[in-house]
Symmetry: C3
Subunit: 253 residues, 3 copies
């Protein structure tokens, strides 16, 4: 089974319950990964996802092999049927099969390029690995989603005893650099999975993907959006990184 | 004992037999590397050699220390008697001795520079480590050879039950980038060790090293070369990478 | 407890005695680090400090997570109260707290920038991690000091049976690149801790930090400095690297 997006979660409250249990008993399944290897493939930089995923694997008794494709690996070709005469080292089809021979699980981080919207929306890298690898694939943030982060969000809400129908504002703010939408996207999907009273706020012109936003309420006036809910919980812990670009405020009724 | 080239192999059929046995029983010698460390030093990028060597070390119970000299390490000086006034951080003599203090085995990848033929043919980096290190050295592809790859080729041929005197065509094809000859070189040497009926084919002007080709038959006409043999086996599995630059066809009589 | 500078050493002769004992019995405390993780954070390149620290951690049974912030990590903001509108990914305050959640010890290498003396003297990176992390911090060479190296120096002197009051010359020589003073600084402080008969020699214009040199004797004439002592021991072993930039000669009375 892959973990490519939060749609993979069949029963959210059970997953969250188990995650909270494992957070308290991190070595519970220490024998599970014995003599098994996880390949952590980074096409982009990572701090907390790298640390948390590697530590989680070690807690399961797995051996991690970390590869930074930027500085260590090969330039891969992702398109099928291409004549590879531009110096790419090999096709992802071969790479994914090779890595599958040595790794029992493959976790991949590959951000949006922000230069080719079509390829970004197709999650070119993640999709190619899911297609050609013969072992489970974990999404450590793709161009479209960050389902590990979204699951952590759900855990945080449970830990803060947010009631069944939480009131949430996602405030998507301008950032000095153009930023991928992966974290926001998965958060929106998670809110739908949680059946939250959910409002998105951002300045005009910073629209998120309409295919993901769908019928969520969007309120350009941040103050107004916050007032629609009454109590806010700042994102904490592993999530603090994103506070400068992504403010979610969680309100308990 | 070092593994610098396939000349280190004293009895090929025994090595291949043991390799095939270990492929089926990868954890057979899991205690052998306990509390031992392998240093994996990459002066160039690597995918399958990195994965296979690290996984093999872990199967032996060893702890790997991976260093990418391009991005992590120091610029080393390889020439003896040089006044080091150009900013190189230290001489390989010191580096090799230091690494030997912390690693029980050192594996090295250092491609041909393709800018200085003399130094490339002398395998500057590999030779320097073999000279100054006090622990065994493994060649993970040097400027001249790729003996792990060539051994894998021999294993593949055995697995495909190629008869004692196989009929082989090495087809060395143009590639968008200038490519080192290491893989081709070690393959040619391996074919000699195997006493194959061996033909090399490549376009005129893509001559391989005459000191390695020696008296092997070279046929510029690829079609004609293939016709000299009658049955071909495509390179498979871990070797597929090289299909765009190196096509070997293995024929059983 | 942190190990930020050699001032952290409460009883030098006991530390040296224990270090020599552990050098002979490296696996003595193999159970100590079981299920514990050390984060090795490199803001600059490293060879022997990387190898020795990672190997030491493995000898204690710890799992290392190595991160090269240059090529892998995020650009961190170290100043408090800054508006982060220049593209830095996150503040060290958050990064240090996050890393503390996954690592039981954090070891950091962050050289002097050599572009901002004030920040270098404040040991910006190391100080920030010591302030915000919630686990012990080890200095793997900061802008001001290299206390692991200085401790190794003290061990070497003990191994060579240098008498209680050794006669030492630190010869600080010009180098093609501008070099940080960290190694020299910690060595000077170590000599004071050892109550050595200590002379510093370097060409005029290569003055070390007066706050660290304090009342140590400085003799510009290298020959004369060497003559003040009569017997010299070349730095050896793990220290050989520095011979081209830093010559210490240790004299036994």
């Amino acid at each position: 089974m892959n973990y490519l997006s939060i749609n993979e979660i069949d029963n959210l409250s059970e997953w969250v319950k188990e995650a909270i249990y494992l957070k308290k008993n991190p070595l519970k399944h220490q024998g599970l990964g014995k003599n098994k290897t996880i390949g952590l493939l980074f096409f982009n930089n990572s701090l907390r996802t790298r640390l948390s995923t590697q530590k989680a694997a070690m807690n399961l008794g797995m051996d991690p092999i970390v590869m930074n494709f930027g500085s260590e690996g090969w330039a891969l070709e992702f398109e099928d049927g291409t004549v590879m005469d531009q110096g790419k080292s090999e096709h992802v089809k071969e790479a994914a099969q090779v890595i599958s021979q040595f790794c029992d699980v493959i976790a991949i981080r590959a951000f949006a390029s922000l230069t080719n919207k079509e390829k970004d929306l197709a999650e070119e890298v993640l999709t190619a690995f899911a297609k050609y690898a013969t072992v489970p694939i974990i999404n450590m943030e793709s161009s479209v989603g960050h389902p590990l982060q979204a699951l952590a969000d759900a855990i945080t809400m449970e830990e803060f005893k947010v009631p069944n129908r939480p009131k949430v504002v996602l405030s998507w703010a301008p950032h000095p650099k153009a930023l991928p939408h992966a974290v926001a996207n998965s958060f929106i999907e998670m809110m739908k999975k949680q059946d939250a009273e959910f409002v998105i706020t951002h300045p005009k012109g910073y629209e998120l993907n309409p295919d993901i936003v769908k019928d969520s309420i969007v309120e350009y006036n941040q103050e107004k959006a916050f007032k629609m809910q009454t109590l806010f919980i700042q994102r904490i812990g592993v999530h603090l990184t994103f506070t400068e670009k992504l403010f979610h405020k969680i309100k308990t009724g």
